[in-house]
């Protein structure tokens, strides 16, 4: 168990480092650098800098250094909570991201909870009642869920909402709460707005998880240990829920770890379509405007969020599967 924990923790740290390097690479990728952009901005305002001033600025920001040194400088300031300045907004990046990051998390967690709440019972039902009408129906719905890219699903839902109910679904708050300070009422308003994005984001994952659960459970249903549980006189419903479902839960939970980055990814596009105040629209805008410190910070924070989510689902797996806990003990 300890070795598993250490290994997972190590992987999480390596992943975070990899993500931070990639995020910094994104900041560095576009031709030119921060100063070139800055000079261009100043020029647009009518000021120009002398070559000496430019050189001094470059030194100040360490832009004359190698990639590694620059990266280490950046990471050091990030660790102090300083993500740099947004060129476009002329405000500190951390200020811009603030609430949006938490809302992104809320949307992702809502989507994951929904995925679980739907996939688990449907997967179990489909496996136990294989080839029933409902099983076929779920299979078909699942296939469509897999096939419709979630931005299209969001578009379709918005279209139907607009066409048949005349309402503009989207956003995470009612107009009255958009700029209101946090209060219980505002949280409740948020909760009321979460299901729609959760459905849009969760559909593909739910379809996939139903397939996984169904396949795993079908593998387990005919194992001898299920027969022995029946043979000792246990009620059929409890036989299924206590034994094969419990075993089939392991692959189900381990896939959850990969579901998290997938959903965070998807939330970017869905937020754009549904107009959610998450980091998604901010990232797109930053990328299109080549506001690279902002973009890099968002990619980094999303990555770190994902690593934490993945780590937590690994811990869940540890809790659920005694075989991992026993590793290296027996």
């Amino acid at each position: 168990m300890v070795s598993y924990l250490v290994r997972r923790l190590f992987m999480a740290i390596v992943t975070m480092v990899a993500i931070s390097v990639l995020s910094f690479a994104i900041i560095q990728l576009p031709p030119g650098d921060y100063i070139t952009t800055y000079i261009a901005q100043l020029a647009a305002d009518g000021t120009s800098l002398s070559d000496a001033e430019v050189l001094a600025l470059r030194e100040q920001y360490g832009l004359d250094q190698s990639f590694l040194v620059q990266y280490l400088r950046w990471i050091a300031s990030v660790l102090h909570g300083d993500f740099g300045m947004s060129m476009e907004w002329r405000r500190p990046v951390s200020e811009l991201i603030g609430e949006r990051l938490w809302l992104t998390m809320a949307v992702a967690v809502a989507a994951i909870l929904l995925t679980w709440a739907l996939a688990l019972p449907i997967g179990i039902y489909s496996a136990v009642r294989r080839y029933s009408v409902a099983d076929y129906a779920f299979t078909i719905v699942g296939f469509i869920g897999l096939a419709v890219p979630n931005f299209l699903l969001a578009l379709a839902l918005m279209y139907f909402g607009y066409k048949f109910f005349g309402i503009n679904i989207g956003g995470l708050f009612s107009p009255a709460y958009v700029d209101a300070p946090w209060s219980l009422a505002r949280v409740w308003d948020l909760i009321k707005h979460l299901p729609l994005p959760a459905i849009v984001l969760g559909t593909a994952g739910t379809a996939e998880m139903i397939r996984v659960m169904r396949a795993n459970l079908l593998d387990e249903l005919h194992r001898p240990y299920v027969k022995t549980a029946r043979a000792r006189g246990l009620d059929e419903r409890r036989v299924i829920l206590k034994y094969p479902v419990r075993v089939a839960l392991n692959p189900f939970v381990s896939i959850l770890a990969y579901l998290f980055p997938y959903i965070v990814s998807g939330s970017i596009i869905v937020s754009l379509v549904l107009g959610l105040p998450t980091v998604g629209p901010l990232l797109l805008r930053a990328l299109l405007a080549q506001d690279m410190f902002l973009a890099g910070a968002i990619v980094l924070l999303l990555g770190i969020m994902t690593v934490i989510g993945t780590f937590l689902s690994d811990m869940l797996l540890l809790w659920i599967d005694p075989r991992i806990r026993l590793e290296g003990r027996s």
Binding site: M11, L29, L146, L155, A156, Y159, Y162, I269, L284, V307
Partner: protein, 376 residues
């Protein structure tokens, strides 16, 4: 199911001896054929790639020709009979301003008939990229400027959606193909190394895959895509997008290749080949590759949908293919605004092929995966 084939051969009836001598590929084909949805999916995929090959022929007007005064025209259905006589035509549209809303409303005008014919003349292109021609599958009979047809309506710039859809299909599906090919190369290379050598190399590659899989990909690819210089040509962007989306798909393929390699390494026939003194390269090429080709093909088929969704999503966001290039994602950019869709629902038509082809690839891949192991 096939297990019984093998077990019943002892009885020596005609069909069973056929099974006994059938090659691996024949067995797979027989099994695949049984999978109705997979067969349907295969036909759909084949149909779509025919569209790719004949895209220019199927289009009838220049995909980038825009007429501002013909913006957002609704689709024109084909009427096959005119007063009981076979004379295919569409009805021209007349725009009127709604006196209340002041919006321009188009209605079919029974007086303005635009006759259609097969192999009509239109814009010039090279058939199959070789033969210069200006013939298209269908088109208006005359070459009059005002004789236009818009089977799927027009977009905001007054461009014909049908023609753009044909060209967009070509772009999106070839990007998918190229992306899958690239990630297949990466997957086979890295997965193969991982599976064949094992040890620390395997460990390193596996851990890297784990790291890659736990990074949220879309923001990362968005970042990469956004870094493409604005002045790149369509071809450069096309290649860059292909590379970007294939960086997304190789991990799963590598996993499959490695898994097969590990399984096969333990097989007796590989051991036998080794004892017979075969070289490593020969063992891989002659003994192992044929044994897992089928699994690779199945995994490749299942990798297509992710490629297509990636391209469509990136282009939809304005970070992938850019105008004047036409792809499904570029077409769907027009449908970003709900009000626009509500007024002109035909802007969502390009979503249909996206969904259909993804379903088709999924069904086909599922069938292939089931058939991949005909002796299992």
């Amino acid at each position: 199911m096939t297990a019984t084939y093998i077990e019943t051969v002892g009885d020596g009836s005609a069909t069973e001896s056929k099974v006994l001598v059938a090659s691996q590929w024949q067995l797979m084909w027989w099994r695949f054929r049984k999978h109705k949805l997979a067969m349907a999916g295969t036909f759909v995929v084949a149909f779509f790639y025919l569209v790719v090959i004949f895209a220019d022929f199927l289009a009838y007007s220049d995909p980038n020709a825009s007429e501002a005064y013909q913006a957002l025209l609704p689709p024109q259905p084909i009427h096959f009979f005119d007063d009981g006589v076979f004379a295919p035509h569409v009805l021209g549209m007349t725009g009127k301003r709604d006196p209340q809303t002041f919006k321009r409303v188009y209605a079919p005008d029974p007086e303005k008939k635009v006759p259609l014919r097969l192999f009509a003349e239109g814009y010039s292109y090279k058939f199959l990229g070789l033969i210069p021609t200006n013939r298209h599958l269908i088109g208006p009979v005359g070459a009059l400027a005002e004789d236009t047809i818009f089977l799927f309506g027009t977009d905001m710039q007054g461009r014909d959606i049908w023609s753009r859809l044909m060209i967009g299909t070509r772009t999106s599906l070839t990007i998918g193909l190229a992306g899958v090919t690239l990630s297949l190369l990466l997957g086979i290379l890295l997965g193969g190394i991982s599976g064949f050598y094992g040890g620390w190399i395997d460990n390193l590659i596996q851990r890297s895959i784990e790291v890659l899989k736990s990074i949220p990909t879309i923001p990362l690819w968005m970042g990469l895509a956004a870094a493409m210089p604005r002045d790149w040509t369509v071809v450069q962007v096309y290649l860059a997008i292909t590379v970007i989306i294939s960086l997304l798909g190789w991990t799963e393929l590598a996993r499959v290749v490695r898994g097969r390699f590990l399984a096969l390494r333990e097989e007796d026939f590989v051991m036998a080949a080794e004892l017979a003194g075969c070289s490593r390269a020969r063992i891989i090429a002659r003994h192992m590759l044929p044994a897992f080709m089928s699994h690779i093909i199945a995994a490749v088929t299942l990798a297509f949908p992710a490629m297509i969704i990636s391209e469509t999503s990136l282009s939809f966001l304005g970070l992938g293919m850019r105008p004047p290039a036409v792809s499904w994602g570029v077409l769907l950019q027009q449908a970003q605004n709900v009000q626009a869709i509500a007024i002109s629902p035909w802007l969502l038509i390009p979503a249909i092929p996206v969904i259909v082809i993804i379903l088709a690839f999924n069904f086909m891949g599922d069938g292939m995966r089931d058939a991949a192991d005909p002796y299992g």
